[in-house]
């Protein structure tokens, strides 16, 4: 009998121990595309960070740090960049990572990503003189080579095997072999149900402590399971309270009160720079084809009102006068007075003097995206108060993203305004930030056109002196406020919630699952 009890106790202990090694996560959305270069979806990016490694990372202080790269050098004229990969890098299939893999990966990324495309306008050619070395030859000096290679958010230049990276950029890859800290278990992937990653036991982490997407990527759990079926906000809270899952990536704002009240749950802000809300004007059609009308709308959009309605928790939001993320190198209030120092009276005056003719403003409101669904309501109310006629049209997010690509007038299925949110690194400099691009119909939805901005962005891309880059970023922002490319609506954080026995969270732009321990 004693032996039997002993055996049972041993089996139970083994089972508990096995559970300790499985990290059960509820991601912020569904994982439906596994190619982080083909799509800019954040879920694909997070999947990428599990499976792939990057040449450079961005640390907690937003500095670019080497990751797969051991050392690098530049020629005196900054036109030749030579990189040496660190030893011990290997793909999940056991093959070593070579310069050829890096070149193929960068070429594919450069065809999809906006910053990559910009970088490749400078690139003359690349080569790999030895298996662990690669070189980038530039036509002229470029001021953002390392920023591009260490770009922390979509699209991240993840390094894939050459045979995978040779897939045309407009086609999705079919093989998730990477060299990152986890291995994707394809056989256990059930779309809409779960995605499973196991520890890459052969991964050699850097010696530096983990910091952002840089530093040592140590894995202390055997297996990570993403629960893709659990998407009801209340069900997520219940599951965490009961200990059925370990981490909720992005709880709904109204869920924090019950979560914080439970002694077994902790709320951790692993993405301190957070997100920025914005409303985008369509520059092609009346009334927002008139800069003065856009300025009047901008003046009406007081950030505090949006943040209070959408986020609601005072500690989780802050007004930010910058179009580039506040508290990052290019964050600045330059030129923002039209919005930050305005009030409703001023907005009403601007509407009257703008030449606004009463054309209804069609605002698209997504009803199924809780994280931004209240922004259009607030915008509509503020704009009505300012003197605009507003046609607030409710639809699902899919319809918003479909309709926003239509360049037709609002009466023919087009639009005047929509609101969205960006994770900080996506907008923290003038090259990455799609909303300040002003190349007309080649720009991001809304299609602003302004030669001055584009000239300044070109200068920024070429500039290597940090102080001058900062000045150029300020000039770009001032001009963007002047022509009202869009309305920044302030910043917010959306901390994760986890069981108290989970520790070691790494801060970064998304959710990074190395260094995490589960006791």
């Amino acid at each position: 009998m004693r032996r039997l009890l002993g055996c049972l106790a041993f089996i139970v202990a083994l089972s508990v121990s096995a559970q300790d090694k499985v990290l059960r996560i509820v991601p912020h959305s569904n994982l439906n595309i596994l190619d982080p270069i083909w799509t800019t979806q954040y879920m694909a990016r997070n999947h990428g960070y599990m499976v792939y490694d990057t040449l450079f990372g961005t640390d907690e202080k937003n500095r670019i740090q080497p990751q797969m790269v051991e050392k690098w050098s530049t020629s005196p004229d900054n036109r030749l960049w030579t990189f040496t990969l660190r030893s011990g890098l290997a793909f999940h299939d056991g093959r070593p990572v070579t310069g050829e893999d890096v070149i193929a990966s960068l070429q594919r990324w450069g065809r999809r990503d906006a910053m990559g495309q910009k970088l490749f306008t400078f690139v003359d050619r690349m080569d790999s003189p030895s298996s662990n070395t690669f070189r980038i030859f530039l036509r002229e000096a470029c001021g953002f080579v390392l920023e591009a290679l260490g770009k922390p958010s979509s699209n991240v230049p993840f390094i894939m095997p050459k045979r995978v990276a040779d897939t045309p950029a407009d086609r999705q890859i079919e093989d998730a072999t990477g060299s990152g800290p986890y291995i994707f278990v394809k056989d256990e992937f059930k779309p809409g149900d779960k995605a499973v990653y196991v520890k890459n036991t052969k991964y050699v982490p850097r010696k530096e402590p983990p910091s952002g997407t840089a530093g040592g990527k140590h894995v202390y759990v055997e297996r990570v399971e993403w629960n893709l079926a659990l998407r009801d906000a209340q069900a997520q809270v219940n599951a965490l309270l009961r200990g059925e899952v370990d981490i909720l990536e992005q709880p709904a704002f109204e869920s924090y009160a019950p979560l914080q009240a439970d002694k077994n749950v902790q709320v951790v802000n692993s993405n301190p720079l957070g997100f920025q809300y914005m409303c985008r004007f369509n520059h092609l059609h009346p009334p927002f084809n008139n800069a003065k009308v856009r300025q009047a709308a901008l003046a009406a959009m007081q950030q505090e009102q949006f943040l209070r309605a959408q986020v609601g928790i005072k500690e989780f939001y802050r007004p930010c006068a910058s179009m580039f993320t506040c508290d990052t190198p290019y964050g600045s209030a330059k030129g923002s007075e039209i919005q930050s120092k305005s009030n409703m009276k001023r907005a009403q005056e601007l509407v009257k003097t703008s030449g606004y003719d009463g054309t209804p403003v069609v605002i698209m409101k997504p009803t199924d995206l809780a994280s931004i669904t209240k922004l259009p309501d607030v915008a509509a109310q503020l704009m009505r108060q300012a003197g605009f006629k507003v046609d607030l049209q409710a639809m699902d997010w899919n319809t918003v993203v479909t309709r926003r690509s239509k360049k037709e007038p609002p009466a023919q299925g087009g639009w005047n305004m929509f609101c969205t949110a960006w994770v900080a690194p996506d907008i923290w400099n003038p090259i990455a930030n799609p909303a300040v691009g002003a190349l007309g119909e080649k720009s991001w939805f809304g299609w602003p056109s302004d030669d001055q901005i584009e000239k300044l962005r070109d200068q920024f891309a070429r500039e290597t002196d940090e102080a001058k880059k900062k000045a150029l970023a300020e000039a770009i922002q001032a001009r963007a406020f002047e022509i009202a490319t869009h309305a920044p609506l302030g910043e917010y954080i959306n901390p994760l919630a986890a069981r108290r026995n989970v520790s070691g969270f790494v801060t970064g732009p998304g959710n990074l699952y190395w260094n995490i321990k589960k006791n």
């Binding site: 569904n30 439906n32 595309i33 799509t39 800019t40 979806q41 954040y42 694909a44 999809r112 906006a114 979509s154 699209n155 407009d170 086609r171 999705q172 079919e174 059930k190 779309p191 809409g192 149900d193 779960k194 629960n227 893709l228 079926a229 659990l230 998407r231 009801d232 209340q234 069900a235 219940n238 599951a239 309270l241 009961r242 059925e244 199924d368 639809m395 699902d396 997010w397 899919n398 319809t399 993203v401 479909t402 309709r403 926003r404 690509s405 360049k407 969205t420 960006w422 996506d426 799609p434 080649k442 991001w444 939805f445």
Partner: protein, 293 residues
């Protein structure tokens, strides 16, 4: 054909969702072309119809796997949930309805009618949250979410399925109990019941063997209709309890405008609907030998 056309007329573009928020209009167009969505609707319809005729439901835009495979992956949870729901509903509702008819006008009858009104009125998601709060969070008896496949352990499978099935069964208990009550009540007024009682048969035998058996046809019909309606019910239940079944697949596919998956699921549901109705019609032969086809 109707579903195909309706989906194409609905606003929304799968390519826009697939591309992500930072994608340009040009990238979205590339994806559309890759999916064949830039072709005329007639051409798209022809391709789809050709595949359907050869038994191919197509391939999901997102996961690039066969829709039939996707449905296959989701079939077990939904089938298990629906079966257990109907099982609970029939086992509870038929005896309750029969007893209510037997005690017509009494407290049991009134209580059952009250429960029926409540069962019809309470939204599934409200009941789900109440049950989760009570049974899982307060009493800690059952898990709050998830599904465990039967192959991974029958006890765990059952443990995860009870609460969703009970949630979903309430409306069917209300529906079936009412119909059973009405049918049995009608049967109890027939001459053959009076004859059976006059012969001195035990009351339970009169109720089950004579009244219920003769009232079976409308009950079976409503159970059949219930199975069809159940398809709508599982969508909500699967969402609240995080069950990766066909309901959840349908919601995801609709939100993402995954046209092949939506079309495939609807065809599959239509097939199930027709099959269930056929089985119900055939079962009449068993319950009422007077019926001939």
């Amino acid at each position: 054909m109707l579903v195909f056309l309706l989906l194409r007329l609905t606003p929304g573009d799968p390519a826009a969702i697939m591309a992500g928020d930072a994608a340009t209009a040009e990238q979205i167009e590339q994806i559309r072309a890759g999916l064949g969505l830039d072709r005329p609707i007639v051409v798209q319809f022809g391709i789809w119809l050709g595949r359907i005729v050869s038994g191919d439901l197509g391939e999901s835009y997102y996961f690039r796997i066969k829709v039939a495979t996707l449905i296959g992956q989701r079939l077990e949870p939904t089938f298990a949930l629906a079966t257990m729901t109907i099982l609970i509903a029939v086992l509870v509702a038929v005896p309750l309805g029969m007893l209510a008819a037997w005690r017509f006008g009494g407290w049991l009858d009134r209580a059952l009618m009250g429960f029926s009104v409540l069962g019809f009125s309470i939204p599934v998601f409200v009941l789900a949250y109440v049950l989760i709060w009570l049974v899982s969070l307060q009493l800690g008896w059952l898990p709050v979410q998830g599904y465990v496949r039967i192959a991974d352990g029958f006890f765990l499978f059952l443990k995860h399925l009870i609460l969703p099935a009970v949630t979903l069964s309430v409306i069917y208990i209300a529906l079936i109990a009412r119909v059973t009550r009405a049918s049995v009540l009608e049967a109890l007024g027939e001459d053959y019941i009076r004859t059976a009682r006059a012969k001195g048969l035990p009351e339970m035998r009169v109720l089950v063997r004579h009244a219920l058996a003769n009232a079976a046809v409308p009950i079976v019909t409503v159970i059949g209709i219930g199975i069809a309606i159940l398809i709508g019910g599982v969508v909500v239940t699967e969402s609240v309890y995080a069950i990766p079944g066909l309901g959840r697949l349908t919601v995801d596919a609709v939100l993402a405008r995954d046209f092949p998956t939506i079309q495939g699921v609807i065809i599959f549901f239509s097939f199930i609907y027709v099959a269930v109705n056929l089985l119900i019609d055939l079962s009449y032969l068993v319950f009422d030998p007077r019926i001939r086809y």
